[in-house]
Every structure is written in structure tokens, then in C-alpha cells.
């Protein structure tokens, strides 16, 4: 039996994905929209879902809307934005109790889908413009959301690293958009963009839970109707490996702990033949608490509390991050370089390989224990235009050899070293 039972049904303007499982006491619904990441649209896209979730024709204010959700046994509803490689995605997520666990058996799933339909297609708008009060409030909040990145030094250092490393490339943009562009958006512009997004975006509806597929499809047919479309692809090209000396960027702020973030290009993305080997590379190098970075930077040298690497699968971007005392900068960078060199030289023990495979397998299986995890995993295929099942994925992890990991390590290049240091010693 497959680990995930996904049925994909092509509908006009979107794909319907149904995953049947009786694991949960709730049903999860996620509506996803994807378009290329672009400077011109990123800020409008960042604002749009927040305006839509603040009111609709039937529930004009957020109070009306939230009261209705509370009455649906506290259905959760939230929006979020993400960057997946060179794409900008918007998600509308709902989770609603499965009626069979409640005393009164209300048709909660249908009510939730009806609600989502109203949010997406019947906004609080007239004459081609959104309600101006909602737009004013959400512009203010968007500005605050962008500004607050500065307050979280780890996020700030990551954002600065991307700006430096991907200067001129859409990937340097943040999913929340550009601060300076927020003010200029008005309720009419945004409404035009709303129409544009619902006409051109690639759209997917996921429903996960103890549901009956035929019934769900009927509900979806009744509620969600759009024009057909050919989704746009991102124009950004894959880069070729070059061997240049990494850029070094140092900045100072009044902080207690220095943030060291190192960006690497891997030249491998989701769905490539050596993508699984790259996952294993990341696991041996810095993904876990048995990895080289944790063992050497933290356990052996006591330089840091955290020292890890993270992989962005669709861009092929790998980031090393660690919080250190500023005086230890040179030493920390040196140790991290040594670990990368060791990977390139094939210095991977049997134990490291075995641990990494076991932990990645575990991580994959755990991810699909949550409805949200199932959806995110399946959505990777949509973003990359591939069809990789979890069963295939697990199999490929088992098969990958040390030589394949070393080969992929050889492609990994350190590109930019960003260090945000404190003012100590000045």
C-alpha cells in the first residue's frame, strides 16, 4: 500500500488533490496559488491574501468572519506566503473538526469549503476596488511585518545574505515584498492584481482527511470555477558552477551574539538525478545533531549553541548558520570550510552515512504524519513539475552511495559569507 493515497483530478483552472486518511480528528483544506517571483508584483501578492482574509461580501469585517469560524467549532483559517525557488506562493489554509467527533453532526467540511469559496471569489469589494478600510489596515500591517524582520537577527541575517548573494535575481526578494512599494498600492490596483492572479496563477486545492472523494469532488465542482490557463514558468536560468573566491560581507549592530550565515550554490534542484544525494550531503554536513557542523563547531569547540545547514530545494541554495562570539569569527569560518572540504574529499564514515539515511527516512515518514506535512510534500511536485512519490523517495535514500554524495559535494560552492557582528571591543 502506498504511504499517501493522493487522487489528482484536473479541474477547470485548478487541480483538485484529495488525500484520504482516517488518522486525524480534523479535515484540512489548503488552497495554493503560484506565480513567478517578480519585483513588480511581489508586494501586491504579499498584500493580497491578507486583504482577502479580512472580509468578504457575506462577512464584511474580520469580526463577522472570525465569529463565523468560531461557530464552525473554532475552524482555523490563516494565510501565508512562501518562496519556492523563483516562485512566489500564497496559501489559504483551513482546518475544521471532523463532524463525527462532535455531538451535533453539522456538515462542517461543506461549510468550510463554502467559506473558502466566499473568501477567494466573493471579496468585500465594489466597482473594481477592495474595501478601503481593509486595504489601509493591511498595508499598515504589511509594513510592520516587513520591518519586524530587522528585529529577529537570525531572519535579518538570512535576508541580507540573500540580498548580497542573489543581487539582481528575483530570489533576493522577500516573500513579504518591498517596504517602499507598500504605500503606493491602492484598492483599485490591488483589485486588478487580484483578478490577474486568479486568471493566471497555477492553482491547487488540497483536501486531507477522512473524506469521501466523490462527495468532495461534487462540492468542489459546485464552488470553484475558473477559466483554463497555462501557468507561467519562471524565466530564471540555472547557474553553472564557477570557482571564484567567496564574497565576504561584514556588518555591525548593537547585539550580543554574532550571526554567521554562509550561502552556497549547489547547482542541483528538486527532481534532478542527484537531488537525493544532495539531501544526504546536507544531512552529513549540517542538517542534524550528528552532522559535521554540530559535532565540530558546537561539541568539539564549544563555539556555538547552534551550527547547522539548511537546503532550499527549488533554488538549490544551501545556507550554513551559526550564532557565535564575534571574536571567534575566523575560527568558526575556518572550521566550517574544513567540513565542506572533508565532504568534497569523500570523508564520510559508514556511521555518518547510516545515521543520515536513518534520520532522513524518519523525517520523511514523520512529515507525512501531519496533514500539513503531506500537503507540503505533495506540493513540491507541483512546484518542480515532477512526479516523485514518497515511496520512491524512501527507496532512493536507501540506494544512494558515498560516491554519489561526494560527487554532489564537489558541485557545492561557497558563494557569500555574511557576518552580522556585535559592537564588543569598540
Amino acid at each position: 500500500m502506498a504511504l499517501i493515497n493522493e487522487t489528482i483530478i484536473k479541474k477547470k483552472g485548478y487541480n483538485l488533490h484529495i488525500v484520504r486518511t482516517d488518522k486525524y480528528k480534523t479535515n484540512t483544506i489548503v488552497w495554493k496559488m503560484k506565480a513567478p517571483l517578480q519585483k513588480e508584483t511581489v508586494t501586491k501578492r504579499a498584500l493580497l491574501p491578507y486583504v482577502l482574509q479580512s472580509g468578504s461580501e457575506k462577512y464584511p469585517t474580520s469580526t463577522d468572519l472570525r465569529s463565523y469560524l468560531d461557530d464552525l467549532y473554532g475552524a482555523s483559517f490563516y494565510v501565508d506566503l512562501a518562496k519556492k525557488g523563483d516562485y512566489h506562493t500564497i496559501s489559504f489554509s483551513m482546518e475544521v473538526a471532523n463532524e463525527k467527533f462532535l455531538k451535533e453532526g453539522e456538515p462542517l467540511l461543506e461549510q468550510a469549503l463554502q467559506f473558502l469559496h466566499e473568501i477567494l471569489q466573493k471579496p468585500n469589494a465594489e466597482n473594481g476596488a477592495f474595501n478601503s478600510e481593509i486595504v489601509i489596515d493591511e498595508k499598515r500591517n504589511l509594513k510592520q511585518r516587513i520591518e519586524s524582520i530587522y528585529d529577529d537577527k537570525m531572519r535579518y541575517a538570512s535576508a541580507r545574505l540573500l540580498e548580497e548573494m542573489y543581487a539582481g535575481d528575483p530570489y533576493a526578494l522577500q516573500s513579504n515584498g518591498i517596504l517602499e512599494d507598500v504605500e503606493g498600492i491602492n484598492e483599485t490596483d490591488l483589485y486588478s492584481y487580484y483578478e490577474q492572479a486568479f486568471t493566471g496563477d497555477e492553482m491547487d486545492l488540497y483536501i486531507v482527511g477522512d473524506v469521501e472523494a466523490g462527495q468532495v469532488e461534487k462540492m468542489a465542482d459546485r464552488l470553484f470555477q475558473f477559466n483554463s490557463r497555462t501557468p507561467q514558468s519562471s524565466k530564471a536560468a540555472k547557474t553553472a558552477a564557477t570557482s571564484v573566491k567567496p564574497k565576504e560581507i561584514k556588518e555591525k549592530q548593537e547585539i550580543n551574539q554574532g550571526k554567521l550565515h554562509i550561502g552556497c550554490r549547489t547547482h542541483v534542484t528538486f527532481g534532478d538525478d542527484d537531488y537525493i544525494a544532495l539531501q544526504l550531503f546536507n544531512g552529513v554536513f549540517g542538517g542534524f545533531s550528528h552532522s559535521k557542523l554540530f559535532t565540530n563547531v558546537r561539541e568539539k569547540e564549544s563555539l556555538a549553541y547552534y551550527a547547522a545547514s539548511r537546503l532550499e530545494s527549488h533554488k538549490g541554495f544551501l545556507m550554513v548558520l551559526s550564532g557565535i562570539d564575534s571574536k571567534n569569527y575566523t575560527k568558526a569560518v575556518e572550521i566550517i570550510r574544513e567540513q565542506l572540504t572533508a565532504m568534497k574529499n569523500g570523508e564520510i564514515s559508514d556511521s555518518e552515512l547510516l545515521q543520515t539515511k536513518a534520520v532522513i527516512r524518519n523525517q520523511l515518514l514523520e512529515t507525512i504524519d501531519t496533514a500539513r506535512g503531506v500537503i507540503e510534500m505533495l506540493y513540491q511536485n507541483v512546484v518542480a513539475g515532477k512526479e516523485m512519490t514518497i515511496d520512491h523517495w524512501l527507496e532512493a535514500v536507501e540506494q544512494t552511495t558515498k560516491e554519489e554524495i561526494t560527487a554532489v559535494a564537489d558541485k557545492v560552492e561557497m558563494d557569500t559569507i555574511y557576518f552580522l557582528s556585535g559592537m564588543e571591543g569598540e
Partner: protein, 428 residues
């Protein structure tokens, strides 16, 4: 072995008290790949004055020691326990709170081996001067990381405003200075006092056979040599009812201001059903006042005083308790004034309607059903509830039993000007 059935939730919980006093709970979750286990001692950052095992007098241990001990449990003579878990495909972790230290793993394979690793590593301490010294650098960096975190500073700042003497005011990790004093002898002393099985609870949830799991634990424990231990003697000084400081402001390197209002709890000796009722009623009340569907939330949002970071919560355990309300704001003084006014008005019954009550209860029932999808939530919360004599699986009936009179009475008893305090974070 005892079986406890929760009909409406369709869950069965298995329980056994081991001969050495360890409480073991097992919940089977069908269809899940993963098993999640927590092994928790009723020992946290607040337990800093006690009579050590075998001693006669109270001692006062350095701030941050429970958390330090948690870190040091992972290092053994033959290396790091993380490495061991990785080989068995598990991800392991631990955390220290005010009242608990929990060790945990989750895994989809080798569950029994991982469970054995978990139990054994927590029951076999190994501390040396050298490894203790080495950890000071690592924890020092953990403390510095929190020093730069404005949410954490605001959280602790508010607690420090409330408490005069109770050790809940001490940062869980301690300070760079306080941990400098920690020695391996301190660690052994704390370990012997608080890690006896009779002070601990093991919770296993996931794709496991309850009977087999309990037998396995019984077998494991029977091989270990524990002698009965008398009740632990902890000391807490008298804590005044009113807050220590009405207001403090901290300037940090941030762009956005924060405002939090705190309400210090009274009757902190409450336990069991009474505590559960108190916590639920307070949380329902806060939701009626400040929830996203309340008229007050809408007003504050429209006036630009709050944004999506706005947050409220009430928590109480033996000896301490507090409500916290606040978030990022462009106008901290104005937000403070409004929250204080709303709370004081609530004493008179203002803002408390039957309709809002019904809605909040429904919402909380729904969010509980969502939460019990999560093995992590079940294990961690069940342990917290049990240590306080409460029952996690009674959450729904307790919520259903809350009346408007309950809310009003709680508001009248709890809310008082001299138990309110504010903490602001402002950009430098």
C-alpha cells in the same frame, strides 16, 4: 495495567505505576508512522532551594542548573547520545521549563530500541569536571541568543515585574555568571534528588502495542536498583499578592515597539480540578475579551494599536500564575492604557456576554480537537496536566461546564489594579 477509555475522543490510554514509583502511560495512535515518547521529571528552573537526598538542610543551587543538567545528560563516557539516536533513526531532544525537564525522541523505526536508549540515558548520569566546563561555552551562546531575542526579553521582563521572591522570575537558562559556578557535584546532587523514578513520568504515544510497551518498561525498570525515596522537600519564600513593579521599559536594537500587560494570579495553591477550572475559565475570559471575533479586538486593530502578533494567554501552576496580553505595537502607551481599562471594566461584567461565552467555548473545543492530532501535544500537555493533578482528557467537559457566572466571578476575584503590570520594549 489499567485501561482508561475516552469515548467521545475515541482514545484508549494505558497506565501502570512501576514498583519503583515511575508512572508509565501509553496511547496507541493507529495509522501514524511515528512514535513519540517523553520522559519527564518534575523538576524545573523554580526548584532552586531544597533538601538534597541524604542531607538535612536546605541548599540554594546556582540559577540555570536544571537546564544545565538537561544539557549534560546527553554526554556519556562513550560519546554523545544524539549519535546513538541518529543511528536508530530517531530525532531526540529535551527541554527545561519552570517546573519540568523533559527528554524525548520521535522515530518511525526501532521504536523499542529508542525507548530503551531514552530510559537508560536519563537513568545513567555521567558528569565530569571537563565536560561540565566545556558546556559553559555552549550554554553561554544559548543565553546570548536569547539576550538578542525581543520576544523572550519581553516575556521574562513581564514575569520579573510580577514576582518579588518566587524563582519563576529567574531566566530558565540562568546567566553567564551564574552558570560559571556550576560544578559536577552540584549536578549529581540535583540529579539524585529529582531524577528518582517516583518523581518522573514516561509517556509513549504512537504506532505501538500498549501491552508490549508497558511490559518492556517494567522489565527494564526491574533490572535497576532503586530504593524508595522520601518526598522531596522544596522551599519557596512567601510571595506577596501584588506585583513588584507596575511598569518597566527596555530599549533594544529593534524597529518595532512591544507592549505586554501582565496580571498576576492569586490562589496559586490551587491544584487538580480547581486549577483546571481556573485555567480554562481565565483562558475563555481572555478569548471573550481579546479573541479575533470580539468587538474589542476589532476596535484595537482598526485603530492601529495591534497587529497579527497580538497574543493572550493564562497559565498557572503551584506557586505562580499569570495572564499575558500584548504584542507589537506602534503605540505602546496607548495600548497599555486600553488593555488595563478593558480588564478593570471586565470586573464589573462589562464585555462579558452569553453569546461571546458560547463562541469562545466552541472555538476552544475545536482547537483542542486539532491539538490532539499531534502526538507531541498529547505527551507534553498530558504530563503537565498530570503533574498538577489535572486531566488533559477532561478539557472538553470542563469547557462545556463554564458558565457566565463562573467567568464573572473569576474576573472579580482575579483582576485588581495592584496585580497588573506592564513591560515595554522600545527601539534604541
Amino acid at each position: 495495567m489499567e485501561k482508561i477509555v475516552f469515548d467521545q475522543l475515541q482514545e484508549e490510554l494505558f497506565y501502570e505505576k512501576m514498583d519503583n514509583g515511575l508512572d508509565v502511560y501509553v496511547l496507541q495512535k493507529k495509522g501514524f508512522n511515528k512514535t513519540y515518547a517523553t520522559f519527564t521529571t518534575k523538576y524545573g528552573s523554580i526548584d532552586n532551594q531544597f533538601i538534597p537526598q541524604g542531607g538535612n538542610d536546605f541548599i540554594h543551587v546556582p540559577d540555570g542548573i536544571a537546564h544545565f543538567l538537561e544539557h549534560k545528560m546527553f554526554e556519556k563516557e562513550d560519546g554523545d547520545v544524539f549519535q546513538h539516536f541518529s543511528r536508530q533513526g530517531a530525532s531526540a531532544n529535551a527541554f527545561t521549563s519552570f517546573t519540568r525537564t523533559a527528554y524525548l525522541f520521535s522515530s518511525t523505526d526501532n521504536v523499542q530500541n529508542n525507548l530503551e536508549t531514552l530510559i537508560n540515558f536519563v537513568q545513567e548520569p555521567y558528569f565530569t569536571e571537563k565536560t561540565v566546563e566545556k558546556e559553559k561555552g555552549i550554554i553561554g551562546q544559548e543565553i546570548r541568543m536569547y539576550d538578542d531575542n525581543s520576544d523572550w526579553q519581553s516575556y521574562f521582563g513581564l514575569i520579573q515585574n510580577m514576582y518579588h521572591t518566587h524563582p519563576v522570575k529567574i531566566d530558565i537558562a540562568g546567566t553567564v555568571e551564574s552558570i560559571a559556578d556550576i560544578t559536577k557535584d552540584h549536578l549529581y546532587e540535583c540529579y539524585r534528588t529529582f531524577y528518582h523514578p517516583s518523581n518522573m513520568l514516561l509517556f509513549v504515544v504512537g504506532s505501538i502495542d500498549p501491552q508490549e510497551t508497558i511490559e518492556f518498561v517494567r522489565e527494564n525498570q526491574s533490572k535497576k536498583d532503586y530504593t524508595d525515596q522520601p518526598e522531596i522537600n522544596r522551599l519557596f519564600e512567601q510571595e506577596p499578592a501584588e506585583v513588584k513593579e507596575q511598569k518597566r521599559v527596555l530599549k533594544m536594537n529593534v524597529q518595532t515597539s512591544k507592549c505586554q500587560v501582565g496580571l498576576k494570579a492569586i490562589d496559586t495553591e490551587l491544584q487538580s480540578e480547581q486549577l483546571q477550572k481556573r485555567e480554562s475559565t481565565m483562558n475563555v475570559m481572555l478569548d471573550m475579551l481579546f479573541g479575533k471575533s470580539s468587538p474589542l479586538y476589532y476596535q484595537l486593530y482598526r485603530e492601529g494599536l495591534i497587529d497579527e502578533t497580538f497574543y493572550y494567554d493564562f497559565t498557572q501552576e503551584k506557586g505562580f500564575g499569570f495572564a499575558m496580553i500584548g504584542g507589537d505595537t506602534a503605540k505602546p502607551d496607548e495600548l497599555e492604557k486600553r488593555i488595563r481599562t478593558i480588564l478593570l471594566e471586565t470586573k464589573t461584567g462589562k464585555h462579558l456576554t452569553e453569546e461571546a461565552l458560547k463562541r469562545s467555548i466552541k472555538k476552544k473545543i475545536g482547537s483542542f480537537l486539532r491539538a490532539v492530532n499531534s502526538p507531541e501535544y498529547i505527551a507534553n500537555q498530558f504530563t503537565r496536566y498530570t503533574f498538577n493533578g489535572m486531566n488533559l482528557f477532561e478539557v472538553v467537559p470542563v469547557l462545556e461546564g463554564i458558565t457566565l457566572d463562573d467567568v464573572l466571578n473569576t474576573a472579580r476575584q482575579m483582576i485588581s489594579e495592584n496585580r497588573l503590570t506592564t513591560f515595554h520594549i522600545l527601539p534604541k
